[in-house]
Amino acid sequence: MIFQLAVQGAQMLVVLLLAPLLIGFVRKVKARLLRRQGPPLIQPYRDLVRLMRKEVVLADNASWLFRVTPYLIFAATWVAAALVPTFATGLEFSWAADLIVIVALLGSARFFQALAGMDVGTSFGGIGASREVMIASLAEPAMLLIVFSLALVAGATQLSTVAAFMGSPQVGLRVSLGMSLIALVMVAIAENARIPVDNPATHLELTMVHEAMILEYSGRHLAMIELATFLKLLLYMSLISCVFLPWGLDDASAGPKALAIGAVAYLGKLTVLAILLAVFETAVAKMRVFRVPDFLGAALMLALLGTLLLFVSRSL
């Protein structure tokens, strides 16, 4: 029991500590791909600390909501990230929330972020918020359809069960799973405001979505939000890895040795995914905002197709 709790706590800390590193790594790889030196790996940590130390500059008519939101976003994202199996399944509190809840948690984070964007009453916040909800209104159904097809395959929405099932030999190669994977990747890109949907590095207000929403944030608030975005990327990567690359994952009660294997495997998966992401981002260009619906619509269609094809592949 104590061990279980310890593992759970470890997981929460791991995600919290690993998230900035992951971002740093991605940036580093991208810089290298562009033949630049790039910032050191620990730069994100430095940024966070510096931001936390700075004072907050708050717009005159910002309300209490504006000040509470960063912590809410952070908390929701952190809890969600902590509930996704990383190096071990079946954690102490894993049953507190299944995959649908995790998606919904991210949804509530987005909800408050959009509200905060509108709170100050500048047009940038409005742009960001309205575009964000538009993207979400397509990404969320796609995500849920992916959840459906996973659940229909594994017979559960409980991530540990899904991971265990996907690890087992009875899965076999399914076309619908492939589709779900592609869809999931597309959704992940959109959700994390990565190229080609959005550009985390841009500072031209009119082209950005996520950055426009948080334009008014500064200091510790900004730090919280940044950390939340880091956590989100980590969350999606560990989600992909635990569902589609479930190797080395084992139940938390399996003992330290298994956990160590799981941890190593997990780091390996993250590295691979991060490199892939960096390569992809350097390879493609950002698309216009109103091309995004087509992009996500494709994801939606893929996910739905995957769900429907399941029955076919079942019947075969």
């Binding site: 742009i127 209104s137 200091g219």
Partner: protein, 671 residues
């Protein structure tokens, strides 16, 4: 004559007495307190009685009064289902009366509201209690009539008159459909008692007809697309506490009617009956919320979102039908519980939101979001509870909306076990529609809250705004608390619903209160589980921890400054995003097929000073497809027939003569 039922019947009687009293004294100053106070007390008492009955799980009780249809009598019955809906009705009624205690004082025409308000409550109570077709329809139509009178309260406004007209016509259309359905169930002998209908099972054709008629009848009252046209007109037209009742409670009474007939009286459903309900529900959900997104009138937005939630409820009812037809009682119980749970939740947060809208209306006199904004500073409490309502209705954890929608999704995930291919394929598709609706709902309420309460004031009306009275705030606070409680302790509700599911489905969801840590487990823990309480605790704890550490160890300095406006200091409030512009991306994406929306931009020549204009024209497709042709046809027919008013006497004689000759011919050719 059972005592509980007798007691429950005293409630409507007392309410009707209050109505009569109100008609007498409505012009006095003390009338408001008297009427709403009485309504509150009566409803509260009813809540207590019904809650006791539900908790005691004391089965069925019935009573017959020597009223109504002579040889049937007015029959009333209290079973699990009616008890649950009585709870919904009277809880809503009590809180609305509480709100009315304060809100009623701002009423401009109290003598047109107070007599009908208790009558409306009484009507809804009677519908749920009725146990024979005549009493049911009588109460049903009485309910419509009373609410119509309330919609017509501010009758000097042309729009309200139109709303009331369309409302009552649609209502009586629905009643006619129900009448036909009951006619089929009663048979030529005219056995109108529900008990008799229950035993006599109609043939498959008749059953199908009854289902369709119920979808028309109950659906038109609940607001299923395309029968929803009246709803967004009528609900906002009434005073806000009545809008809350109509949207939050009356639509539920309609759902009660549907359940009562389709699940109870009709016997075993056919497997395809599920498909119809599922599809209609899904379409209703998506179209309803899309309409809501396009609205800029706060109360109409809420009315449209009611349509969406009705769609969700009907979808899960359709699932329940499908499962029930395929003898999967546990799955059916899951879907049915989800539906009832969502009924309860929607009654909570929709009432809350309409109360909030009412508060905004009384303090600013505006319903148009484009003229609001920044109310979070002027109405702190109202804005907070309204936010709670928005979060709940957007199905975000850990609030109640999410709990019920999560159950719906769990039910959808049981669909692979269905034998029929049609269902196998349709159910996930409908699930996708629900997911879309949920995401859009979140977007919609970001807009609703963001435009109304956040940002900078868009009109002078806001500057004068001040927080509303205590009664209203109390009512809203209570509802907000309910939203949170039902969200973090869904197990209680689910277990409380088990008698209903047992009586109608024959099975129940596994006992939830036995689960560790009060989490809910629809099927098995390995399969799926959710613990609202824990999630809530985690978020609260980690958020406050983070805040605490940062403020303690990092920095808590804070400086106010003007917002960043690309170097232009403090642009005018008009430069903010408006409700319409907020919805523009989504309109670009979905408007094409949902509203046949078309944007036309006329850009002035470079150098010319007149502004560029963006014109958007959108069509209410349902209205154009279903209603305009009907009105057109009636217009045509009346125009043609009207000539018959202007004939000469000789022509009239000719008519008589021809008629005579024709009849004689018929007779001559008679075998």
């Amino acid at each position: 004559m059972n005592s509980t039922v007798a007691l429950l019947l005293c409630g409507p009687a007392a309410l009707l007495a209050t109505a009569v009293l109100a008609a007498a004294v409505s012009r006095h100053s003390f009338a408001t307190r008297l009427v709403y106070g009485a309504a509150f007390v009566i409803s509260a008492v009813l809540v207590v009685i019904v809650a006791g009955h539900l908790a005691g799980n004391s089965g069925e009780a019935s009573a017959t009064l020597p009223l109504g249809l002579p040889w049937t009598g007015a029959r009333f019955r209290l079973d699990g289902l009616s008890a649950f809906f009585l709870l919904v009705v009277n809880l809503g009624g009590a809180i609305a009366s509480l709100y009315g205690l304060g809100y009623g004082r701002h009423e401009s025409a109290p003598h047109r509201v107070m007599p009908f308000y208790p009558a409306f409550l009484a009507g809804m109570n009677l519908v749920v209690l009725a146990n024979d077709a005549f009493s049911f329809l009588l109460s049903w139509e009485f309910m419509s009539l009373a609410s119509w009178a309330l919609v017509m309260a501010h009758h000097r406004d042309e729009a309200n008159r139109r709303a009331g007209y369309i409302y009552l016509v649609m209502a009586s259309f629905g009643t006619m459909a129900l009448l036909l359905a009951f006619g089929l169930l009663a048979g030529p002998a005219g056995t109108y008692a529900f008990d008799a209908m229950r035993t006599a099972h109609p043939g498959p054709l008749a059953a199908g007809a009854v289902l369709v008629l119920m979808l028309l009848g109950a659906g038109s009252k609940a607001g299923l697309v395309p029968l929803h046209a009246w709803l967004p007109l009528a609900h906002p037209a009434a005073p806000s506490h009545v809008s809350a009742l109509m949207s939050g409670i009356m639509t539920k009474v309609a759902i009660y009617g549907f359940i009562r007939v389709v699940f109870d009286l009709l016997g075993e459903p056919a497997w395809w009956s599920g498909i119809a309900v599922l599809l209609i529900g899904g379409v209703t959900a998506v179209l309803g919320i899309l309409h809501a997104l396009m609205e800029k009138d706060l109360k109409r937005l809420l009315a449209y979102s009611t349509i969406e939630n009705i769609g969700v409820i009907f979808t899960s009812l359709g699932l329940a039908l499908a499962f029930k037809a395929n003898a999967m009682p546990s799955a059916a119980a899951l879907a049915f519980t989800a539906a009832l749970f969502h009924v309860l939740n929607h009654s909570f947060f929709k009432s809350l939101l309409f109360f909030g809208a009412g508060a905004v209306l009384t303090s600013t006199g505006e319903r148009d979001m484009e003229k609001l904004g920044s109310l979070i500073h002027r109405l702190p409490v109202t804005s907070f509870v309204f936010l709670v309502g928005c979060v709940s209705i957007s199905a975000l954890p850990p609030f109640n909306g999410f709990a019920s929608e999560w159950l719906v999704f769990q039910a959808i995930l049981r669909s692979p076990e269905l034998p029929q291919w049609g269902l196998k394929v349709i159910v996930p598709a409908v699930g996708g529609m629900l997911a879309l609706a949920a995401a859009l709902a979140a977007a919609c309420f970001v807009k609703a809250f963001g435009i109304t309460f956040l940002g900078r004031a868009r009109s002078a009306a806001v500057e004068r705004a001040h927080e509303v009275d205590r009664w209203s705030l109390a009512a809203m606070a209570v509802l907000a608390a309910f939203c949170l409680l039902a969200g973090i302790l869904p197990g209680f509700v689910i277990d409380a619903l088990s008698p209903v599911t047992i009586s109608l489905i024959g099975d129940r969801m596994p006992v939830q209160m036995a689960q560790p840590w009060l989490s809910i487990v629809p099927i098995a823990e390995s399969r799926s589980s959710y613990n609202g309480l824990l999630v809530f605790a985690f978020i609260a704890v980690s958020a406050s921890l983070a805040a605490f550490f940062i403020h303690r160890f990092a920095s808590h300095a804070l400086r106010r400054g003007i917002a960043w406006g690309c170097g232009f200091a403090d642009a005018a409030p008009a430069a903010q995003y408006t409700a319409v512009s907020f919805a523009q991306p989504i309109r670009r994406v979905f408007g094409g097929f949902a509203f046949r929306a078309r944007e036309t931009v006329d850009m002035p020549a470079p150098g010319s000073l007149e502004p560029a204009r963006l014109k958007v024209d959108m069509h209410d497709v349902a209205w154009e497809i279903f209603y305009q042709p009907i009105t057109g046809a009636i217009d045509f027919a009346t125009e043609r027939l009207n000539h018959l008013q202007f004939l000469t006497i000789r022509r009239y004689l000719t008519l008589v003569f021809l008629y005579l000759v024709i009849l004689l011919l018929v007779l001559a050719l008679w075998p």
